[in-house]
């Protein structure tokens, strides 16, 4: 009898591992590859610094509290890549309303992000995983 219980328990453990552990691991793998909490924050910080020096889009950041922006973006990126964060703020549509953002502006920021990741030697295969998560946001922030 106890052997049977052990078998069932083992089976349950395997199912639990397949059902929960694997996806959780897969999601946080990107978070780890980006350097965890500090790495993600540094990438976001580098992206914002690059954007502030980018003639194409620096005017967008006029009158914005930069340290606060970096903090919010770090929290958002951490959440998006499956890290242990919980970003729940206003929707991307709302926060970008009236900013007159164009596709070229979105891509300029993406290029600033790529440069920030290059500076931290994040391999391209990792970069594209983050870019693929961010790409659909274009539909929410451009021409709102």
């Amino acid at each position: 009898m106890s052997r049977r219980i052990r078998q069932i328990a083992a089976l349950a453990a395997v199912i639990a591992f397949l059902g929960f552990a694997a996806p959780a691991r897969a999601q946080s793998a990107l978070y780890d590859d980006l350097g965890g909490k500090d790495g993600t924050a540094a990438i976001v910080g580098g992206m914002v610094d690059n954007a502030l020096a980018d003639d194409r889009i620096k005017a967008v950041f006029d009158n914005i509290n930069i340290p606060r922006l970096k903090g919010l973006l770090a929290e958002q990126f951490c959440t998006l890549v499956g890290g242990p964060c919980n970003y729940h703020r206003r929707s991307m549509k709302d926060t970008h309303a009236g900013l007159d953002l164009h596709e070229a502006d979105f891509n300029a920021l993406i290029e600033d992000l790529e440069a920030a990741m290059d500076a931290r030697d994040i391999p391209w295969a990792t970069q594209v995983k983050l870019l693929a998560i961010l790409a659909p946001i274009e539909h929410d922030v451009v021409k709102q």
């Binding site: 005017a59 967008v60 006029d62 009236g98 007159d100 164009h102 596709e103 070229a104 502006d105 891509n107 300029a108 993406i110 290029e111 790529e114 391209w124 295969a125 970069q127 594209v128 995983k129 870019l131 693929a132 998560i133 790409a135 659909p136 274009e138 539909h139």
Partner: protein, 308 residues
Amino acid sequence: MAFMHIRRAISFLLLSMLALPAAAVAQETPGDSADEPERAHPLFDEGKLLATGGVSQVEGAAGGGLSTWAVIGGYGTDDGIGVTVHETFIGLRSFSLNSVGVAAGLYDRVELSYVHQTFNTGNTGAALGLGKNFKFDEDVYSAKLRLFGTLVYDQSTWVPQTAAGLQYRVNDRPDILHAVGAKDADGVDFYVAATKLFLSESVLAATTLRFTRANQFGILGFGSAAHDGYQPEFEGSLAYLVSKRFAVGAEYRTKPSNLGFSEQNVYDLFAAYFLNKHASVTLAYVDLGTIETRQDQNGVFASLQLGI
């Protein structure tokens, strides 16, 4: 006579497309917020991400080397215009083809392109009694319209960027083409192209369904006495982005076999390097099968694209 009508229709289409920018400018209204500084949005905005305009395929459209993609060429976004020029050389065992072309991408919606090609018959020219290195010239005019989907931003759906296009080719030596059995020296292809970027995997997949009567891409004219109807043909590309500026891949394209000798499907293996948004280089190994009666026409494809 029918071709004159088609030519006129294409000219009208091209002119109407060129009128689009003017209409778009006219619709723009001045910004109403006083405190927001007006940001300039240059017309040649170079706003697309590197490599996402593809390279110039052999008939001048944005694509791979042989196959057509649904992308609009150049780096203009949906607010801008991009223009590219390119030169492509294809050197085969018995023939060579040199192309010089220009393409304009308008508002990431419409692509217009023109290519002038020179086909060198090499030793085959002598065998046909035309003289060694006998050359003839062709012009290819194309228009492509993006229907729906965005290559980069639709990462959370399976929707590919999808476009439809047409391509008109005219050859300056109908007498030569009639001698090899072609019915016409000019003709129109129609196609629908779907291109999907799987960004997280760095993979781009492109497929095109082309309706054509062309012999060897139209270089040897269109149709024959025996086979003259439009046929559906397939083009496929699979590319892997090694980095944001370097892509490698393979392409495959099927073709009709209207003339007496058996025309084969073609493929290439390519590498494309994007120096920046103004310059890219593509090198490929191409295998075009049998051309005219000459077998194993494989060789090199080299292309340089410059753009604003």
